[in-house]
């Protein structure tokens, strides 16, 4: 789960991390009393909005409204700006970086800090980074924070604030089941205050059940992906035209790759999981049909999966949706022959192997086009 800046900042504030004063608006008319002078910031779930013209200054309420009307509705890397955040403009002395992420290889949280904030952390030279693993069972120890402020060369009154913010950010990281907490820039003002200039927060989808209040947040999903999410179906829309559905994430990825090698391009990633319940198969297929593929490529490798009931689900979905999209299906599992017969009876194309199925899907598409 990703958070827009203003939502992330509200959570930061809950943990006592200092944030600038700000108000949010969906329409220019809603802007009455912004903290002046202010920055008008596009609220989108992608980075790089500054460069894209999504962050601009304003010195009066009238100017704020006019700047907001420019930014609202803007397209930033495929995301439409639906909301702006008007935030107190900071007198910047220095920009730092502070973040917590998960190091997969070490299997521990990783604290990253740098005196070179305000730019993408990937572009900061390695010797300018402070990186320290935090053993989850031990927690963030004071010596780590002391070495952080040393490395960054911070004066005492600034260092104390940074240490405090790091402690609170780690608490947030753990309690909110975050994959990423990033403050970039962490601003040191001319007055010596340390404030979170930006806020990036990503919470683990698997922990949604512990944070039901976040379940309704807008995510970067297409309407069909949103529908799939609500139904508990793993579904991603891609930019090809062949609807790919398989069982298991690895096999679905491999099916897309094989299709590509055979000259086709996948338009969907749909992982059916371990089900052979015809109703669930039909539900997944209905979703797939809504994505308007030119051909559907179904690839099931099931040890104990019943191939015939999967085929019945396919048949049901095509009937319910009155769809005439061709289906190429490779279903390996119990009662394979019955499955093939069901598919042939409705004019569909059974295949023996995944390679053959991918090839056939490309041929059927060409024939249909």
């Amino acid at each position: 789960m990703k958070f827009l800046e203003y939502k992330a900042k509200a959570i930061f504030a809950k943990y006592g991390i200092p944030i600038p004063r700000g108000v949010v608006a969906a329409r220019p008319e809603e802007i009455h009393d912004p903290p002046l002078p202010c920055m008008v910031k596009a609220q989108v779930l992608v980075g790089g909005r500054g460069k894209a013209g999504g962050i601009k200054p304003a010195n009066s309420s009238a100017e704020a409204r006019s700047v907001a009307s420019e930014i609202l509705g803007m397209d930033i890397k495929g995301y439409t700006v639906k909301m702006v955040y008007l935030e107190e403009r900071l007198d910047i002395e220095k920009e730092l970086y502070l973040g917590f992420t998960i190091d997969r290889s070490a299997r521990e949280p990783l604290l990253i800090a740098s005196a070179m904030g305000g730019m993408e952390i990937e572009t900061v030279p390695h010797d300018q980074l402070f990186m320290q693993h935090v053993p989850t069972l031990i927690g963030l120890q004071p010596y780590v924070l002391r070495s952080l402020t040393n490395k960054l060369g911070l004066a005492d009154h600034v260092g104390d604030q940074v240490e405090d913010i790091a402690r609170k950010a780690y608490e947030l990281f753990r309690k909110e089941d975050a994959e990423l907490v990033e403050i970039n820039p962490l601003v040191v003002t001319k007055g010596g205050r340390v404030v979170a200039g930006d806020a990036k927060l990503v919470v683990d989808d698997n922990a949604e059940y512990r944070h039901l209040e976040y379940a309704k947040l807008d995510q970067d999903r297409t309407p069909l992906e949103e529908e799939a999410h609500e139904k508990g179906i793993t579904f991603i829309q891609l930019d090809g035209d062949i609807g790919v559905i398989a069982n298991g994430a690895g096999l679905t990825m491999a099916t897309l790759d094989v299709l590509n090698l055979k000259g086709g391009k996948g338009g969907t990633f749909l992982d059916l999981g371990g089900t052979d319940d015809p109703d669930k198969v039909a539900q997944a297929f209905e979703l797939l049909i809504k994505a308007k593929p030119s051909v559907i490529l179904l690839n099931i490798f099931g040890g104990i999966t019943k191939a015939d009931t999967v085929a019945l689900g396919v048949k049901k979905a095509l009937e319910v949706m009155h769809a005439d999209v061709p289906v190429v299906a490779r279903i390996k599992g119990v009662n394979e022959d019955a499955a093939k017969q069901i598919l042939r009876d409705i004019g569909m194309h059974p295949a023996e192997t995944m390679e053959e199925a991918a090839e056939l899907a490309v041929q059927v598409k060409k024939g249909a086009a």
Binding site: L137, T252, A254, G303
Partner: protein, 287 residues
């Protein structure tokens, strides 16, 4: 010899009374696994597929000398189940459950290390030593005893590849499904170490996918330490960046975790990478 699991392993099934637990207890017994006990809160004293159910893992250890566990309990209770197994002294804990919050995994996996326990998974099909035992959910009939060690982050894709291997006459010493999560108990490199040390394993198959740097680290390890021939497959060559491809761990972040980087790392280590999953069998024939 085989890796981690042999016919002497004495298994307790945590969450044995659930649909999955019950079904796979039967399948594991049929495969020859010594399933000696199950646990399920409030169901102690009953039996599932003839296997006695206990209140706790400790009782399964005390009464039935269980020394390995397989966990089927729902995600919110998995951390509890895993720690219970480790506290009872079990040294092998296989976690089938998917969708466990990372922050839970970040606690029980480091804890396992302090206890000297090996965790396989979470979000994995388990581990199987054909001819000896199965501690997992994979379809038994596609496996065949042999000398190829298989390491995989995926479930059904592994079955596809193993099936092709078996048909081409390449049996398996042990197949370890390490799991599709970003944080897993035994990673590709650690599974490689086990297979390199195992006398029965003559060849190694690595089935990787996009996301993280496990394959790159494994390739570097192979280059330096592995004397046995190895071949690989990488899923997700056409996956777009920034999208989680079904597995929580299968995501390209920035320029990290791409298939190109993994294929290149394997090639640099002299490990051929198959274009098609079934080509693994052909690559093995050439080793």
């Amino acid at each position: 010899m085989a890796v981690l699991l042999t016919k002497r392993s004495r298994v307790v099934v945590q969450g044995i009374t659930g649909h999955q637990g019950q079904f796979h207890t039967r399948a594991m017994l049929d495969f020859g696994t010594k399933v000696v006990a199950g646990t399920s809160p409030g169901k102690a004293g009953t039996k599932v597929e003839g296997v006695p159910v206990f209140e706790s893992v400790q009782q399964a250890v005390d009464k039935k000398r269980a020394n390995a566990s397989i966990i089927f309990v729902p995600a919110p209770y998995t951390k509890d189940a895993a720690i219970e197994a480790m506290e009872a002294g079990l040294k092998l804990v296989v976690i089938i459950t998917e969708r466990i919050p990372f922050h839970d995994t970040l606690e029980f996996i480091p804890y396992a290390r302090t206890k000297g326990a090996v965790v396989i998974g979470p979000n994995c099909p388990g581990i199987i030593t054909p001819g000896e035992a199965k501690l997992g959910i994979m379809p038994s009939h596609i496996f065949k005893a042999g000398d190829c060690g298989v390491i995989s982050r995926s479930g059904t894709l592994t079955y596809e590849i193993v099936n092709a291997m078996t048909q081409a006459g390449f049996g398996q010493s042990t197949c370890v499904g390490i799991g599709g999560d970003p944080i897993i108990g035994t990673n590709t490199l650690e599974a490689l170490e086990l297979f390199q040390a195992d006398r029965k394993t003559k060849r190694i198959v690595v089935v990787g996918e996009i996301g993280g740097t496990a394959e790159e680290e494994a390739a570097a390890y192979i280059k330096k330490n592995v004397t046995k021939p190895a071949v690989a497959y990488i899923a997700g060559r056409t996956a777009p960046p920034g999208k989680r491809m079904g597995h929580a761990g299968a995501i390209i972040q920035g320029n990290m975790g791409t298939a190109e980087s993994k294929v290149k790392a394997f090639n640099d280590a002299g490990v051929p990478v198959a274009d098609y999953p079934v080509d693994i069998a052909k690559l093995l024939a050439a080793t």
